[in-house]
């Protein structure tokens, strides 16, 4: 077996073994809620427990991105990043590994139960819908040849 494949399988085993994992977030895509270096708690949850607005972690090749759910279909999720509103990702149900339930930054914990977490979800969804509306207006203008 090739080392890359073994590593990917080991990662999945690592995520699947425990119901809750303490991990580190990398990147700027989920600012302001998640920043580079934040500790994030990811819990294994059933498909039925996932809601629009949640942050989910999923499998993509040898990476494990964390993004916000903006639409839930029967067997897939539409995801986006709070800080990259123009991009979307379709993720199959079998690739979803867990849901982020808390972050820790500078020793301060913020969880799903906190108002700031909920506000970030509401803000993220608002950005998504605003972005969609703006995109629709642009397409309409282009169609009608408006300046």
């Amino acid at each position: 077996m090739k080392p890359d494949r073994a590593r990917r399988i080991a990662r999945e085993l690592q995520l699947g073994r425990s119901q809750q994992m303490d991990v580190r977030f990398h990147g700027e895509s989920m600012r302001p809620l998640l920043r580079d270096g934040d500790r994030v708690i990811v819990e294994s949850v059933s498909w039925e427990q996932i809601r629009v607005g949640d942050l989910v972690t999923y499998r993509f090749e040898d990476k494990f991105p964390t993004r916000r759910v903006v639409r839930k279909r029967a067997d897939s999720l539409l995801l986006f990043c709070d800080n990259w509103p123009e991009l979307r990702w379709n993720v199959a149900r079998e690739d979803v590994l867990g849901r982020a339930t808390a972050r820790e930054r500078d020793g301060v914990r913020l969880g799903r139960e906190d108002a700031e977490w909920s506000a970030a979800a509401a803000r993220g969804l608002a950005i998504f819908h605003w972005s969609r509306a703006r995109h629709a207006v642009r397409r309409l203008r282009a169609l009608l040849r408006w300046p």
């Binding site: 077996m1 590593r7 080991a10 977030f25």
Partner: protein, 129 residues
Amino acid sequence: MQAYVVNRDKVTAQVIDDEAVILHADTSEYFGLNQSATWLWMRMDTPRTAAELIAAIAARYRHAAADVGQDVEDFLSRLTQATLIVPVEGAASPAEPGDAPDESHPRDGYEPPQLVKFGHLETLILSGE
């Protein structure tokens, strides 16, 4: 008589295409097994003595037990050192259907059972990018 069993409290494994990947929860080390090793690994879901494992794999690959004995002993030693299996005292488990050497469907191409240490998983990094 000493038997060996998978250290279920500490390890988790997945078998794909007859080859296993094993993750040790305490050390975050991950390992790979070749086909013959994976077959032995799966036998150790319940306690098995070295003699049982040697007899089983010898029958599977149509080799004399003496030819594969040292390979299996070395393999068990490496698994034990890595605490992927643990020795247990007592009689081996009674044979279960499917555990008997499958002499009606022997395999060719015996390769000594191998445990490969691939590496160590660092703290998982979630990348949004």
